[in-house]
Symmetry: C2
């Protein structure tokens, strides 16, 4: 497990990039998340690190010899650790490299962010038992949590081509749905468009087909995390999902935040992986002492909503809920071990969605489906509006951060998307 | 619909490549399927066309200006038609290009075939109502065919990274399964390893995210078809598949045949798309007069099995069943229209699996699950062996061909895979 702390995590470090020392920034020198950006007029995306309100161009600064994020991911933990250490020193207050690197900074406000890497395959998991139970209750009232849930890290394959990056516009999808009382299905714009609050985990290096990645080695195959919105059309989902799972209800769009917070940056926020004593212990291939000791990660997650009425009235977005990734029923290492136990080959840049991260308490649902009890209890917004599901013009913003006494707070930036009207 | 017949379909045409005139060949001059091959010692795959027992190297012959199949796919129907016409003339008996092209031929036996293109996303459908009903009966005896089946072309996303090409070895996957009488699940090599007889359809050009491909335009987005084996571990599937669909039961491996038979080559074998009068008509976005008139394709499909005992005794493979793609409940054009109705963006090289192609009669099941009634009635083989599911050393071979009076028979070649013992 990569829970060794080193001097890059020292809370006393400050940067010569002034905004990185703002206590409210998501990107202090202890974070150093990686992404792909381009300036206006540039065709190709380049690898950068977020520092305060700036992006440092790594290749231009001589800090990396590629602009291919997947190649860098595949290079392995040592290469990544060496870059982290180099960046921590180069961006530190008083660094002799300040003068040379100053010209390699670009304001984040002046760049376009791309997807952080090429995503070959995308798998979505279902790791929140609170989400599985509350959604299961709506789809299968008599049988909310299926018998396999506590044994199998449930996952399914998603669509890679339609994954976009924060600030994208999502056209309301058209599809088939059928109400319980309808004799035949209808086709039209979804009436139950929803978000799902997830984390996305990127695979660093993969495995050969036919081989597996044992859980004891799984952490070394993880690159880092970003926020992930798995937009979902609930009416399409309810009608299409049996027996083979969600399809058109999901694959019209998914949105990632642009910065990958590396596994190394998250080291101070590792926490024990715990389950109720009455639950079965994970099967041996999903269990190690290290996973029990520090397999979970304390990441506070939030969903914010800004409706077009709020925007027009100059009102900021309103926070709808908070949850924490430490409440996940499965750890990332367990997901890697499970995904490969059958010899399925992972590749650098593959994306694992965590599944909707709902908390244990009412009000901690990671989707409107949960917060509005399937649309039956509209959510009252502060400006007087109500929401059962998303309306055109709504902007959904996911946020996340890690905090621990004695350490610098680090954040994930934003994962935003705005709903546009359906195609006519 | 691309059902215009032209002189490239003329049964009287013969080729200066002698083996292409053998009545038994899959690859007469009327077929001209495309694939990617390399000679011993070559690092890169090149685009070739199968003609008789030879491969014609297209770039070396000056017939194409790329070795990137996805780029060629994206170039569109006109480019593809022009190549077909050129090849038909160049390979015809008496062609003035014979001398120049002779040196661009390589025996198929001397080359290694690669995947025919880069597959960005792979979707598996479920188009055989006979398969859906008989498998549904085993998983849900009280409810074999779900209410959505006759309305929705059911599909789900599959794993692209583990798709390989014919003649591959499949290591028996390890996973979780739980018998009905077991208190807790077990982990081990699957005991119910199966094949699925499918066709794979390749997308030629895609659509922008947020846009759809209307059914009337869908055929122009199809490139061609190959055989596809969707290997499945039935015990893993039964335990994991609810509520989000198959995952590790499928993603350890899938196998394609190496040659893509183009939509143009299949034109003579188009047939009406028909459904029982008592079934609902397809919804308007899945229905056109052209789709009704010629949306289906008459492709005879077969599964052959050679066990290691047969191999050791010098016995050939035994045919287990036959079915026909014309019995599919949905056409390829309907699959394209459905997949994009929500704005999901397809890309050149995407693969659609047809789902297991079972016929209406007993004995026409496209999987051992069906042929052995879920393992309860072992299949008796001619050499005295029995099979409930696949055993180590078994080689499964899918074959397919099109026949019609007045036209030359064309075939798909083979899609073969051999089971190796599980990882220990």
């Amino acid at each position: 497990m990569n829970v060794q702390l080193d001097e890059t995590h020292d809370a006393a470090l400050s940067s010569w990039v002034a905004a990185a020392n703002d206590p409210a920034t998501d990107f202090p020198i202890q974070n150093l998340p990686l992404g792909r950006f381009r300036r206006t007029g540039e065709a190709e995306f380049r690898i950068g690190v977020a520092i305060g309100d700036q992006v440092l161009d790594l290749a231009r600064g001589g800090l990396i010899d590629t602009d291919d994020m997947n190649a860098f991911m595949q290079a392995g933990t040592e290469t990544r650790n060496a870059l982290r250490s180099t960046l921590s020193q180069a961006l530190r207050a008083g660094s002799p490299r300040q003068h040379a690197l100053q010209s390699c900074l670009v304001p984040q406000a002046a760049v376009e962010m791309g997807l952080p890497c090429h995503i070959g395959d995308y798998t979505d998991f279902y790791t929140s038992i609170h989400h599985a139970t509350s959604v299961g209750r709506q789809f299968r009232p008599d049988n909310p949590l299926l018998p396999n849930y506590r044994w199998v890290p449930i996952g399914y394959h998603g669509r890679a081509s339609s994954i976009g990056v924060s600030a994208q516009t999502i056209r309301r999808p058209v599809g088939q749905f059928k109400g319980a009382d309808d004799a035949t299905p209808s086709v039209g714009p979804t009436r139950r468009l929803d978000y799902e609050l997830e984390l996305g985990a990127f695979i660093a290096s993969g495995n050969a087909q036919g081989e597996s990645i044992p859980i004891a080695e799984a952490e070394a195959h993880l690159f880092g995390l970003a926020l992930f919105n798995d937009w979902t059309a609930r009416d399409i989902q309810a009608w299409e999902y049996q027996p083979l799972g969600p399809f058109l209800s999901k694959n019209f769009a998914s949105t990632l935040s642009p910065w990958i917070v590396t596994i190394e940056a998250l080291a101070p926020f590792r926490v024990p992986f715990e389950r109720p004593a009455s639950d079965p212990a994970p099967l041996p291939y999903l269990d190690t002492p290290a996973n029990r000791a520090s397999g979970a990660i304390d990441i506070a997650l939030e969903v914010w909503l800004q409706t077009s009425a709020m925007r027009n009235a100059g009102l900021p977005a309103q926070r709808l809920m908070q949850s924490n990734f430490r409440d996940s029923y499965w750890t990332l290492a367990q997901l890697v071990a499970h995904h490969t136990v059958n010899g399925c080959n992972l590749q650098a840049g593959d994306l694992f969605g965590s599944g909707t991260q709902s908390g244990p308490d009412p009000g901690q649902g990671g989707s409107l489906l949960e917060l509005s009890s399937g649309g039956k209890q509209p959510l009252q917004l502060a400006n007087g509006e109500k929401r059962r599901f998303l309306e055109d013009g709504d902007t959904v913003i996911l946020r996340g951060h890690c905090e621990r006494r004695g350490f610098r707070r680090i954040g994930f930036g934003e994962c935003a998307g705005t709903i546009a009207p359906a195609r006519t």
